[in-house]
């Protein structure tokens, strides 16, 4: 799931349908909209109360074409609806040119689309989990709707878990999971910012691993709701990972000791772990770090004072001239903890509580102000 970055400060929210669809019965629409809100109140302490007059938190309108917000609807098909995140008001607009239906496989199911849009109204962005309600594509009418665990995690990251009973409950609520023993804030990364590994996923997200926990990194800090347990984010993967990278095939590789694991997204890609010596011939066990360098698409592995360059398309994949001294990377220290080529094109090396920004053009650590190495806690984890 993805959080947009804003949420409502109150849990008792109000809404109003100020413009109903042309072709549906109003009472039925009221019922479907309430049901759609209940998708979210089933798993949180949020409540949604319909009102007949303004002011309300969430205004709902069925509109066609240009409707005053500069984002016109496009007729039947294409865009079905859009909604505003809490910071922008939370309103939800539905394209009234669609053939909206209730409890029918024909047309576009109002309940499902409304539940999705209200997810935006509450602060959720689109999820890259295909089965999630918050995936951007309409998946067709599902007669037995069930909120995906990804959506549940998302909404509970914003508003916490439900503490009371009641509310609309279309399916049995999932059994309560044992609460993971994780801190409620990110202070740990501020006091001890040393990480095991950091890597990008194929969708551009950046994650840092430390022990048995992982952190999603936002533009300048740790995302809300983190840390989480690695075993929950990547089922089957142990903690204390040595190194990780996502290759251009979209698959993410994790290394620990003499083993490695391959994942497609969050799913293990078959029978893993396997031996590094089998899948990555020429690469040593107990790595410090690894990264894919965009300049040539090759994989670089780091350990102690040495590095190895691995090209899966070549035989042997590691040239006989490797390993080479890490001092070839001017300014980068030995025995690094983690390495990453970031979305801005720079390559970053992490060691202890500091990091180094490596410039591929000069092939050296950048001469900058403030100088490198810089404190990781401030620049990556948002600590003061």
């Amino acid at each position: 799931y993805a959080l947009q970055g804003s949420r409502w400060k109150v849990k008792a929210l109000t809404y109003r349908i100020s413009k109903y669809p042309k072709k549906l019965n109003r009472q039925e629409v009221d019922k479907e909209v309430l049901k759609a809100f209940s998708v979210w109140s089933d798993y949180t302490d949020l409540t949604f109360t319909a009102k007949r007059a303004n002011p309300v938190h969430i205004e709902i309108r069925f509109e066609e074409g240009e409707h005053g917000d500069g984002d016109p609807f496009d007729g039947q098909g294409g865009t079905l609806a859009h909604a505003y995140f809490p910071v922008y008001g939370g309103d939800a607009h539905f394209d009234d040119a669609e053939y909206w239906t209730i409890n029918s496989a024909r047309g576009t199911n109002l309940f499902q689309v409304a539940a999705h849009e209200f997810g935006h109204s509450l602060g959720l962005s689109h999820s890259d989990v295909r089965s999630a309600l918050m995936a951007p594509f309409y998946r067709g009418y599902d007669p037995v709707f069930r909120l995906d665990s990804d959506d549940i995690q998302g909404i509970q990251a914003l508003y916490g878990k439900k503490t009371t009973g009641g509310g609309y409950n279309p399916v049995p609520a999932p059994k309560p999971q044992p609460k993971p023993n994780v801190p409620s804030d990110n202070n740990e990364m501020c006091t001890d910012p040393k990480i095991d590994t950091v890597f990008n996923t194929h969708d551009g997200a950046t994650y840092a691993f430390k022990g048995n926990q992982y952190y999603k990194l936002t533009e300048n800090a740790i995302a809300e709701g983190y840390p989480k347990l690695i075993s929950q984010g990547w089922p089957g993967l142990p903690g204390n990972i040595d190194a990780a990278f996502t290759y251009k095939n979209g698959k993410t590789y994790f290394f620990q000791g003499s083993k490695y694991w391959r994942y497609s997204g969050r799913q293990m890609d078959g029978d893993y772990p396997k031996d590094i010596s089998d899948g990555f011939t020429g690469i040593p066990d107990n790595l410090d770090a690894a990264l894919v360098w965009g300049g040539n698409g090759k994989i670089y592995f780091y350990k102690g004072t040495k590095f190895w360059r691995f090209d899966p398309l070549k035989r042997p994949p590691v040239k006989s001239t490797y390993p080479k001294p890490l001092s070839n990377w001017e300014g980068v220290p030995n025995s690094i903890d983690a390495a990453l080529q970031y979305t801005n094109g720079y390559t970053y090396f992490f060691k202890g509580n500091k990091y180094y920004r490596f410039n591929d053009r000069t092939f050296s650590v950048d001469d900058a102000n403030p100088p490198f190495p810089r404190p990781t806690a401030h620049w990556w984890f948002g600590c003061s």
Binding site: Q4, D71, F73, G77, G78, T79, L80, A81, H82, A83, T108, V113, H116, E117, H120, S125, H126, D128, R130, P136, F137, Y138, H202, D203, G204, E219, N220, K248, N249, G250, G265, Y342, T343, N344, Y346, Y348, R357, W379, W380
Partner: protein, 85 residues
Amino acid sequence: APVQKTTQAEIYLSQFGYLPPSARNPANGGLLDSSTWSKAIMDFQGFAGVNVTGELDEETMELMALPRCGVKDKVGFGTDSRSKR
């Protein structure tokens, strides 16, 4: 036709934040360098969970034709707020 296919994809990728809004502005010619174009397609493919090829293959075009929510997948194209690192 390939031109139509590319145009449709360009509009789609602009609409949902994978390309800068100016890319669909006919007034500026909308000329994109190939790496920006490929990256936009790859970003979309990665997000949508199909093979990340950077090409407008059939699967990608089918996905772009699906009805969907109008909220942008990516916000703040071109933002350089990460550069302080």
